[in-house]
Each structure stands twice: as structure tokens, then as C-alpha cells.
Subunit: 425 residues, 2 copies
């Protein structure tokens, strides 16, 4: 017999079927047993007459032959299977904790050796299903808008941003570094395809153990040429999020419902950095000595914007040039740059901006940061041979997921999270 | 004025437009000049009256305002622009070699510092456009067949296959390794979603400097649960390639034509490893002392199958168990395994198979390879808690591209290739 997937059972009412999956719940009563089976398309309720019952461990992989009957009281598509035979394919050992009772599961922790098991929980199944659909929607939107996907290397000779915070790789007796950002490669490819994007790993040897830092995360990156201003980059990102929200509301209805998340998209407000600083001072009486918005400032400005406009997102524009890498395009306003960050529910999830495209201007910008242009020979090369005005951005996928699904940390949005803490697997 | 993309010019005949792009070819004649402009949607022919002509360097980024006119002799969509004004946005330095005359370009070489420039050549633009569409088609097929995309870590505490050939990463004073394969994570996720796939970087600290080895390549991976036999894995891969071929024949017509490649898909023959060895002995008079098909054997057996069946692909099945990792499912035939390789035009591009899913059998298989099950605690965990019969495969994207497009080496199929040789960028 050929296996029938659980989401198709309604089409088999009155017929004999073979189903396969994991034992999610099992209750042995006096006269019969009762089973909830889990597989990739959902859950299904199975009635097991006493004659054929077996003691079944949660998570055992089994197959059942039985008749499909309509059962209005069933929570699972209004059907039930009455089992005729049960076959245990892989018997599970006793679980360390019941994985379908959230309250008995140890709280999420990178030291938890049971990640391969807890990933089977409904919450995690929802998180990573949504993750995969966010990725799908991101690509779909960009491909439909003339972007070409690229696969750049993740091992470089040196970093663009600074020497610190990079992981060293032993490469046949030489030193290489895991890339902090595909910035060089994205910009190089603007010279080839104008519009490029990449979804790939980004590495930061971050000392900080906060709920938003991972040492390895998934970066959504794009870079586009022939822009008139940085506004086009922000508009593209805004459109991407609008598309992602629409896509999830179509393809992840059950998952969003399970996690209690409602996704509504509003036009994203833009405010300048200096205005943000003023608002925080005026509204919350806080003055920052250091340039740059810290975690608290990000939270406060997001709160303010949400209360005023109802938007969970806000673009902060025109960051101080001194805070930005050498390739940031200066604004006509003294000391400002054509760069932005996107905050989502109080946390930075994107950094982006227009880049310098003129070779001589770029060489000078490198010198002004006290760096040596000779160390940037590879990076500078495309700029010698004609580069259009361009810009781009990078989104941290795990942070988006954390904020969207109200998770406690970015780690929970990574299958096998990597942080400075020790970890397992 | 808003920019018009070159592939839309036909809609603007008789109208004034603004176009932007790179100078691909420029010829200054006595009474006028003649320009071919390149941008992401194609090429366009521009006539420049002598009054407004400027000396234009190849690869300079320019914008032109002019009238679109029908021009039957134009190779580019049957239109031409008569320029009214020219503006140089970014002037290119003198090129080290003309990038549109293939014969004057230094042959491909990882030591070539000009990769960011040579990637702008038509050949490379075709290669990486096709690469991006292969990726798209791969994902599309699997998503439509119930697979969930995953993002696993690329830094692990240890390897599954063997300790050798791994790159060491300095991780806050401890040793980590770049993953040789997402095998562990894929199998773990079979317990979560049954069917999963990943497109990600794979690292091999390969000493070999051949035309097929890269130290960093892009792996297409999938793993699927509830299979009846390894045949289902091969069938899935066959379907994937059929879909990729169809997709490219629809979306990359010009690129395939430029590269002189015709894609026809035939049903893929399967032959057993022992039969392959016999054929090589009988047909070519070559006997191999060592177990395993070497490069020559792969080429010969592919040639034989192509001559017999017309298929450029061939699955070699039932590899000797001794040649396979511990997790390979043994066949009922003594000494054989339920594993396969897929050869494409004489080169291995995939390795796959059914995996052991029973915990006790897996522990014994680890011991039989002389390894210690305690070192595989993380890997073994999901098998304690119910795993279905499953299998999967991994495709090396760069090798597929090399074989499909008849490139000289896998390096040419990587934007910034990494090999043992020294390299730039």
C-alpha cells in the first residue's frame, strides 16, 4: 500500500489507508487506545480498538493501516482513522521530558543537549517553517525585480570593516578570515548585474552575550546600481517586508496563529538620526553622550513611533558619518551620511545606505579613516572601471524572526545557534 | 527623466528616453560615433552625431538622452537610439585588456587580479546568470514537493566523515571546524519536517589541485524521510534535473545560446557499481586494483552509457560498503551499500544514499568503522527518539555548472574561487 499524507485524508473517507508518522500523544484506556500521529503535513487522530493495541512510546515512528471516517469532534480536519494494524518502524527511547507539554520542557538554552529533540516541538516547527517562507518571499520579490542571486565566498584575506571581531581560519598554513559581510562581493557584482542579492552566512566574533547577538547568522543582502538616492534602497526594503508579510499571511496561517502573531503592514516612517536623538531627549529626558543609538534608545524611539503612527518599523536615516564605514556616501549636510538603519519593534534589524562610487573619492575616504588604500586593492578595483551610483542593505534573518515572533532571543531563531557561550552540537 | 531599461525600448519608438549603463564598445568615426551600451537587461546600439560626441572609455558608466528609432539592421531588438546628450557618470581608467575580445583576455586563473573586471565579460555574465536560475529551479522543485528549506551552521565541533581535510577555526580560544557536509543537521531535521533541503557552503581542505576540486563550494543538499528504498532518492534527483533543464530552456535561452549549450533531458540509466567495473574491464580492458571509480573510470563509464543510451547522466548504485561512511545503509547483497553516485558527462556531481535509521544498528556501524560512538553523541541523539527510513544526497553546484557549460574547471563556476593554490580577493 502507498502512504497517504494526513492532509489528504478527507479525500479517503470510507477507504482503507496507510499512514506513517511519529507518535505525538498516546493514551491507553481500558477498551481502546487513542493516538495522535504527527507527520510533515499535520496531525491526525487515530482510534485503536483494544484487540490490536500496542504500548506506544511518544516519538516512535509507526505506520497504521485503517479506515478513514468522518468525525466531527476531531480537531484534525474532521476525520479519524480506525486502526486495523499498527507497525512500529522505529521505537523511541523514553523521552527526557514530554515534548508536547511546553511547561515541562527546560527553557531554551544553547547548552541544552536536546536541541535535536526540542526542534520537533510545535513551537519550533512553526518558527522554522516561517523562517523558510520568509527566505522564499525575500528571493521571490528580488528575482521579480531584476535582481540576480549570487554565491560569494565566506573566507576572505581580510575584513572591510575592521580587523577585530573576525574568526581566523587556518588555510594551508596561512591565515584567512570568515567574512563579516559580503560587502566587497556585492559591490563588485553591481558592476556585473547592477542588482544582486545573496542569502548567506555572516560571522562576527562578538564578545557580547546579549539576546540579539549570534556569532554566525543568516544575512539577507542586496545591492542595487543606478539609484538616484538612498530612498530607493529604503523603498525596496519596505516593499520586501510588505511582500514577506503578505506571503506569510497566505502560506503560514496556522503557524502564525499557533504563535499568536498577527502581521499587519503599515507604511514605514523615516526619521533622521538627529531628530531621533532630539525626540528621546524631549520625550524621555535622556541625553546620550556617545554618538550612536544604543539598545535603550532603539527601544524608546520605536515605542514613540509606534504610538504616533502605528508602525512597528521605523527607518532612522542620516547617521553621523563618523559612525559609518569608509564606503558610506557623505550627505550634503555636514557630518551626516546617506545611511540608515531599520528598527523593528525596538531592535535594529538592518543597516544600509548609499555607497561612494567614485574611485578617487573612495581612496580619500579610506585615507580619512586612517587606513591605507593599498590594503584595499581588491576592493578598489571595480571602482577604477566604472561603477554607477549604488547602495544596498543587510538584514539579520534571526533578528527579524525574533522580533516578528516575539522570541526571547535571536538564538531561538537559529536551528543550531552559535554564541560566545559554550554550546552543544 | 526616469530611466528606461534597454529591453523596453521597442515600446518607446519615436520617443525621447534616458538610458544608463556601461560603455561596451565605442567607435569614433569622422562624422559620427557609434556606441554599444550594456546594462542588466541587455545591450543597445546608440548613434552619436558628431556635434555632441565625447571620447568614451570602455566600461565608463554613462547616461544618454535620445530618441528611439526603429533600425532593422540593429542586432539589439531592432532599435537604435539617436543621442541628444551624453553624461559621463563614472569614467573608467584604461582597461588592462579589452574585455569584449575573448582572444586578448588572459586565460582564467585564480591568480588573476582582474576577476572583478573579467566577471563583466559576456561569458561570465551568462555562467552566473545560469547558476542563479539553477538555484531557483532547485528550490522551486523541492518546495513544491513538500520540502522545507533549512539554514544549518557551518561551524562544528567535529566532522562526521573523518578528522582530515577540515579547516580549523579559532573560536574564542577553542577549536571549531568548517563543516564538510550538513549531513548531521539534515538528518536531525528529518525528525522535524521529514523532507528538508539546504543550499549552503561546504568546505574541504583538499590538497588536490585538479580541475574539479574547490576548497569551498556550494552544496545542494536534501534529505527525505519515509522512503521505501534508495530508488526514491534517485528518482527525486532525476526529477530535479529534469525540472532544472526545463527551467533553463525557458529562462536562459540567450545565455545557453551564447555558450553554445543545448540541454536535452533523457531518463537517467542506473547501473550497479560491480557492473560498471565489469564494463570497464570488458570494453576498455582496464582493471582497477583499488576499490572506487577514479576519474578515468568515471569518464569511461559515462562515455559507454552515453553511446548506448544517449544519456549524459548515469547513476552508479550499490557502492562497496567499505568505501562509504558509517551511516550508509548496507544492502542485502554482502559488502554492498544502498548508496549511489551520479555522473554527468564523465564526472561525479552527486553522492547520495539511504542512511541507517535504527539507533542500535548505527552504533554498531560506528564501531565497525573503528570509531567511538561516544564521539557521536550529538549525531546519535535523534536516532534514540524515532527516525523513519530516510536518505538524501548532495550535489556540488560548481561541478554541475562546469559539466553543463563545458567549462575548463569548477573554479570558473565560482565567483571568487577558493583552492589550495594562492588566490586573490
Amino acid at each position: 500500500m502507498k502512504r497517504v499524507n494526513i492532509n489528504k485524508l478527507e479525500e479517503f473517507i470510507g477507504q482503507k489507508v496507510l499512514v506513517q508518522g511519529w507518535v505525538s500523544q498516546f493514551r491507553e484506556l481500558k477498551k481502546f487506545s487513542f493516538l495522535i500521529l504527527r507527520e510533515r503535513t499535520g496531525y491526525c487522530q487515530i482510534f485503536i480498538p483494544s484487540g490490536i493495541t500496542k504500548s506506544l512510546h511518544p516519538e516512535s515512528v509507526i505506520e497504521i493501516v485503517g479506515y478513514v471516517k468522518e468525525e466531527k469532534q476531531s480537531r484534525y480536519n474532521g476525520v479519524e482513522i480506525v486502526a486495523e494494524s499498527i507497525n512500529i518502524i522505529s521505537e523511541a527511547h523514553t523521552l527526557p521530558f514530554p515534548i508536547n507539554r511546553e511547561e515541562e520542557i527546560p527553557p531554551f538554552n544553547t547548552l541544552n543537549i536536546y536541541r535535536p529533540l526540542t526542534l520537533r516541538k510545535e513551537k519550533e516547527r512553526c518558527i522554522f517553517k516561517i523562517q523558510s517562507e520568509i527566505i522564499y518571499a525575500y528571493r521571490e520579490y528580488l528575482r521579480n525585480n531584476g535582481f540576480t542571486e549570487i554565491q560569494s565566498t565566506k573566507m576572505s584575506k581580510a575584513g572591510l570593516e575592521s580587523g577585530a571581531e573576525m574568526f581566523e581560519v587556518e588555510y594551508f598554513g596561512e591565515k584567512m578570515y570568515l567574512t563579516q559581510s559580503p560587502q566587497f562581493y556585492k559591490q563588485m557584482m553591481v558592476g556585473v548585474y547592477e542588482r544582486v542579492y545573496e542569502i548567506g552566512k555572516v560571522y562576527r566574533a562578538e564578545g557580547s552575550n546579549t539576546n540579539k547577538h549570534l556569532t554566525e547568522f543568516t544575512g539577507f543582502e542586496f545591492e542595487m546600481g543606478f539609484i538616484e538616492s538612498v530612498e530607493e534602497i529604503m523603498q525596496m526594503e519596505e516593499n520586501i517586508f510588505e511582500h514577506i508579510f503578505e506571503h506569510l499571511n497566505k502560506f503560514c496561517i496556522n503557524e502564525l496563529q499557533y504563535l499568536g502573531v498577527e502581521l499587519k503592514f503599515n507604511k514605514i516612517p523615516r526619521i533622521e538620526y538627529s531628530e531621533a536623538v532630539n525626540i528621546i531627549k524631549k520625550e524621555y529626558g535622556i541625553t546620550y553622550e556617545k554618538i550612536g543609538l544604543n539598545t535603550e534608545a532603539e527601544r524608546l524611539i520605536s515605542e514613540y513611533i509606534f504610538n504616533k503612527t502605528g508602525s512597528e518599523f521605523v527607518f532612522i536615516t542620516k547617521y553621523p558619518l563618523s559612525e559609518r564605514p569608509f564606503y558610506a556616501m557623505p550627505s550634503k549636510e555636514e557630518g551626516c551620511s546617506e545611511t540608515f538603519e531599520l528598527l523593528y519593534k525596538g531592535m535594529e534589524i538592518t543597516s544600509g545606505g548609499q555607497r561612494i562610487h567614485n574611485y578617487e573619492q573612495l581612496v580619500n575616504a579610506i585615507k580619512e579613516k586612517g587606513l591605507n588604500p593599498e590594503s584595499f586593492e581588491s576592493y578598489l578595483m571595480p571602482f577604477k572601471f566604472g561603477m554607477p551610483p549604488h547602495g544596498g542593505m543587510g538584514i539579520g534573518l534571526e533578528r527579524v524572526l525574533k522580533q516578528m515572533l516575539l522570541l526571547n532571543s535571536a538564538e531561538e531563531a537559529s536551528l543550531i545557534p552559535r554564541t560566545k557561550e559554550k554550546f552543544i552540537h
